[in-house]
């Protein structure tokens, strides 16, 4: 193949381009790579562990929603996600949430995307600390419609753990 442009043309046109270089492609799901980035803290987990993480994710989403006093319909609208998907995430630990839903929820609830992604089970490489904390958190929480004081404290503690800037 031959290049159809000259260096004179480049010299004339490059200065007229926007200052920053363009980028194309890539996906919205950085979780796999993020997990690989810190492999020393990362464990590859099996299907049973993935289900436990998703139970924790469902509990987390439901409790964050209840804490704000929102119904599923209201949260779906505010976070711009589908109601059906939200229901599945809250109640079906065999459902794999799509990256977009996780992204929207992480933005809405201000929880680190990397960690929510790991909890959604899109990757089987998961941070050990996150896994242990998530399972413990889920075990402490009952599936009821209102949060007890104790549950609220457990929720707050878990969310602040999620947002720590520690190596995860």
């Amino acid at each position: 193949m031959k290049l159809l442009f000259s260096n004179d043309w480049l010299l004339k046109t490059i200065p007229t381009d926007p200052d920053d270089e363009p980028e194309a492609g890539g996906t919205i799901d950085p979780s796999v790579h993020e997990a690989q980035m810190h492999s020393e803290n990362t464990a590859v987990i099996g299907e049973r562990n993935v289900v436990q993480l998703r139970i924790a994710l469902g509990t987390l989403v439901r409790q964050l929603r209840l804490k704000e006093g929102l119904s599923i319909v209201e949260l779906a609208e505010r976070a711009d996600v589908s109601e059906d998907e939200l229901r599945l995430v809250e109640h079906d630990p065999h459902y794999t949430a799509r990256p977009r839903l996780i992204f929207q929820l992480s933005e809405y609830f201000q929880v680190q995307l990397v960690k929510l992604s790991q909890m959604s089970g899109t990757t089987h490489a998961v941070n050990r600390v996150l896994y242990n904390e998530a399972v413990r958190y889920a075990a402490r929480s009952d599936d009821v419609s209102a949060l007890t004081d104790e549950e609220r404290q457990a929720l707050d503690a878990f969310v602040s753990m999620l947002n720590e800037r520690a190596e995860m």
Partner: protein, 208 residues
């Protein structure tokens, strides 16, 4: 086999002077080494400073997870896939991964086009990444190379790509048509018609 496609120029962002660079087709071990030892550590360090993927867009650090090496190796054995590198100072200044896809613009719908699957400048050439980035022009060289390839393959200059959110202005300015928001990729899809491609590289359409 890595092939030298042509000699080009970039602009030194500090001095404004032209710098000689080269375009290569198919990456080699040197490019892989640059990706692993130069690109990746910078991208990861920068990415780690942001709480979310979206926030990382503000500093052009969203592509730390792209797996260039795997994709480039795969491209070597799959027809229609191609990789290109811009090199200067003995370092990889920009990369592009190409595939064949089908046009979506009504006037050329269904025709083959050169699809830019991934395109990125080295982290040190990005303005929001460093306060003193090195070279300007990597994106223009790569997009023009994609048009040249499209012509070589018999696609008459038709090219398409999915833009990262912070790059849409660049593509619009270059004459791409903003075709649609692609719900599957969750990115905007841009395409160049044959005549827009000819205009971009400064040629008459009939000469493509």
């Amino acid at each position: 086999m890595k092939e030298h496609v042509g000699s080009v120029v970039l602009l030194d962002r500090t001095s404004g002077e032209p710098v000689a660079a080269d375009v290569f087709r198919e990456l080699d071990d040197k490019n892989f080494q640059d990706i692993e030892t130069l690109w990746r550590p910078m991208l990861q360090r920068r990415r780690a400073e942001f709480p979310s993927w979206e926030a990382a867009g503000g500093a052009n650090a969203q592509d730390s997870h792209w797996e260039w090496v795997d994709k480039a190796k795969e491209a070597e054995r799959i027809m229609g896939r191609d990789t290109f590198a811009v090199e200067c100072d003995g370092e990889t200044q920009g990369l592009m991964l190409i595939d064949v896809a089908y046009a979506r613009l009504p006037a050329q719908r269904g025709r083959e086009l050169t699809y830019i699957e991934l395109l990125a400048a080295a982290p040190w050439n990005r303005t929001k990444f460093l306060s003193t980035p090195r070279y300007k022009g990597v994106g223009r060289v790569l997009v023009s190379t994609a048009i040249s390839l499209s012509v070589d393959l018999g696609f008459n200059g038709r090219i398409g790509l999915h833009s990262l959110p912070q790059s849409t202005m660049w593509y619009q300015g270059a004459g791409f048509t903003d075709v649609e928001f692609d719900t599957e990729k969750e990115m905007r899809y841009f395409e160049m018609s044959e005549s827009d491609a000819a205009a971009f590289v400064g040629l008459k359409r009939s000469t493509l």
